[in-house]
């Protein structure tokens, strides 16, 4: 069928409009990347606007010489790895029994869990609880209070329910217990949803700063996001450059370049994982929305 004139106009408008939207989204990201690789003078004067000018890795050198950043990076890695392991295990523990139609009391337990989406004690009672448990300023506080997310239990349960029940039944007839069924039949079939969970949770851990802000006091325990906050938002960059013998103006310039480099370093794992992230995240949203 031939396109009518109005349809063609619509199509052209559509392509152009989406191109502009994509440009608006990507330009700030490219700018940050280029600025981190340029001589800061060009950034401040406005000469650098798209590609790096006077290419240099100075800023990255300073970032990797900074103890706080390295330490924060290691802390975040620790919180992310152990936190995600606990998250995924807990999610499976909750989702598998709740996916079984022959579990007595299933409806009640599900309601017990979903209830917490709508009603929560809020910040202060939770803080007092954590304090009374002696978890303030410990490694555990970054992991245990968020051991599992209700929404993810629902996603995983929906996935488990889509596995044909006959598989489990035939294993039962062969004399396999529930542990065995979960371990050797259900889990091997669940790789896609486990991957989605690992990504959901680990991105969450990597990006979060709230837990740390509320519950941690020692700088050595801070995750990267809190260190970033000090550098980018509170402007605590003095000790990072004072050690160098640069003039005041040069120091100001280094701070500028350093901020852009820090932004890139903080997102490095995300940038590298982005192709996977996008694919599996979209999948996860779909599984979730099927239910909703």
């Amino acid at each position: 069928m031939r396109e009518s004139k109005t349809d063609r106009a619509f199509n052209i408008f559509n392509y152009v409009f989406l191109a502009i939207v994509a440009l608006l989204v990507i330009y700030p990201l490219i700018f940050v990347l280029s600025a981190s690789l340029s001589n800061p003078e060009n950034v401040i004067s406005g000469d650098m606007w798209l590609w790096p000018k006077e290419f240099t890795l100075d800023a990255y050198e300073k970032v990797f010489q900074n103890k706080d950043i390295i330490n924060g990076f290691i802390n975040t890695l620790k919180y992310t790895i152990f936190g995600t392991i606990l998250n995924v295990v807990m999610t499976i523990l909750a989702a598998y029994p709740l996916s079984r139609k022959d579990l007595k009391g299933r409806g009640f337990i599900m309601a017990f869990i979903v209830f917490t989406i709508f009603f929560s004690g809020g910040l202060i009672p939770t803080y007092l609880l954590i304090r009374d448990l002696g978890m303030l300023n410990t490694f555990w506080v970054m992991i245990i209070p968020n051991a599992v997310a209700v929404w993810n239990i629902i996603i995983m349960r929906t996935f488990f329910q889509s596995i044909p029940h006959e598989l489990e039944e035939s294993a039962m007839i062969d004399g396999a217990g529930n542990f065995r069924i979960l371990w050797s039949i259900v889990l091997p079939l669940s790789f896609p949803v486990i991957a989605v969970m690992v990504l959901f949770y680990s991105v969450g851990h990597w990006n979060s700063y709230f837990q740390a802000l509320i519950y941690l006091q020692d700088q050595e325990k801070f995750p990267l996001q809190l260190i970033l906050r000090q550098i980018l938002i509170q402007g605590q960059t003095d000790d990072m450059i004072k050690a160098t013998s640069e003039s005041f103006l040069a120091q100001q310039l280094s701070v500028e370049g350093l901020k852009y480099a820090v932004l890139i370093v903080a997102n490095l794992p995300m940038l590298m994982l982005y192709p996977f992230l996008q694919r599996y995240f979209v999948k996860g949203v779909m599984i979730g929305s099927l239910k909703g």
């Binding site: 989406l18 994509a22 017990f112 917490t116 910040l123 009672p125 609880l129 529930n178 700063y209 903080a266």
Partner: protein, 333 residues
């Protein structure tokens, strides 16, 4: 006569035996419930073992704080604990309602919430409708890959970028000066706070939020479009009359969820964008709770403020759901 009494006696006997039977049946049923639970437990005890840590987690970290919420009606004294502290009724609520900050907090929280809803909610829908009309798969994929990306940035990074771009000698002000304007101090100017908050939110979330609508649009029956095309409907007409009605249920459900949380403005981003100079427009209930509770240790007072906020959120959700039910016959429950 005797026959009759016999008959009556017979009937009574039947009645009695029936009652006895039903009583026995009842007893049996009671027993059956127990037996069936026992049986269920014996058969699936492993499943209950698996669930135990999860149930303990929810009891401790979600239900116990609910119990602890009673400190909103008490004067919490650490040495006496939650249960032992004296009741004071609505004292903390009254103090909050009478405080100088009350109306400012309500105004800011509601203002940011409504502004976000008005801008951040429709844009992903428009985006999805437009992406759906792109025929070139590669172009579509490219645009999607780009606009999903900011979703993966942390709040600290997004606010950090915002500050770098918007400072007086930053990128945006350089552009303004290029066109002959004079630099604006976006970050410290209270009037700019809401717009910066909302539009950076749009930048970060519009792509990601559009996924769910794109999925809903993929389910539209192509036969409908073919029929409409034969009738001479233009692309635009087909979007209005086929695509939008098709995703209407999704739109309504998400609208209820979003509208229900207009007073639940998140802490993370507001807190990072806040500074001493823009407090008059940037202070919201969640940041106020953080300041008075965590920093100033006024536990009971800030628990009361938090409770007040969750109550309002819950009422909003129910109200919006009720309205949607009446108007559209789609609702959450």
């Amino acid at each position: 006569m005797t026959n009759l009494s016999k008959d009556v006696g017979y009937v009574e006997n039947i009645k009695k035996s029936r009652e006895k039977k039903s009583f026995e049946k009842h007893q049996k049923e009671k027993k059956n419930i127990l037996v069936s639970w026992k049986k269920a437990f014996r058969k699936n005890w492993e499943l209950y073992v698996l669930l135990t840590p999860v149930i303990l987690y929810f009891l401790i970290f979600h239900y116990f704080p609910l119990y602890g919420l009673q400190i909103a009606f008490k004067d919490f004294i650490a040495t006496k604990g939650i249960t032992g502290s004296p009741w004071v009724g609505f004292k903390h609520f009254e103090r909050f309602f009478d405080s100088y900050y009350f109306w400012r907090l309500i105004k800011n929280t509601l203002g940011i919430g409504i502004f976000t809803l008005a801008v951040s909610f429709p844009i992903p829908i428009i985006l999805a409708l437009m992406l759906n009309e792109i025929k070139s798969l590669r172009y579509k994929k490219f645009v999607q890959t780009v606009i999903y990306a900011p979703h993966f940035l942390s709040t600290v990074v997004v606010v950090g970028m915002l500050l770098l771009f918007l400072k007086t000698d930053g990128l945006v002000n350089q552009i303004i000066q290029l066109f002959g304007g004079s630099p604006i101090s976006f970050i410290t100017e209270p009037a700019w706070f809401k717009s910066l908050y909302v539009f950076s939110d749009v930048w970060q979330t519009m792509g990601w939020s559009s996924i769910i609508y794109i999925a809903a649009l993929a389910a539209v029956d192509p036969a409908q479009h073919e029929a409409a095309m034969i009738d001479g409907a233009s692309k635009f007409q087909r979007i209005i009359h086929i695509n939008i009605p098709a995703i209407m249920p999704t739109i309504v459900i998400l609208f209820i969820l979003n509208a229900g949380s207009v007073m639940a403005v998140g802490f993370e981003k507001v807190f990072l964008m806040q500074n001493d100079l823009n407090m008059s427009t940037s202070d919201v209930i969640s940041t106020f709770v953080y300041r008075s509770g965590i920093l100033e240790a006024q536990y009971s007072f800030s628990a009361a403020v938090g409770l007040f906020n969750s109550l309002i959120n819950f009422i909003m959700l129910i109200m919006v759901n009720q309205i949607a039910k009446k108007v559209n016959e789609t609702s959450l429950w």
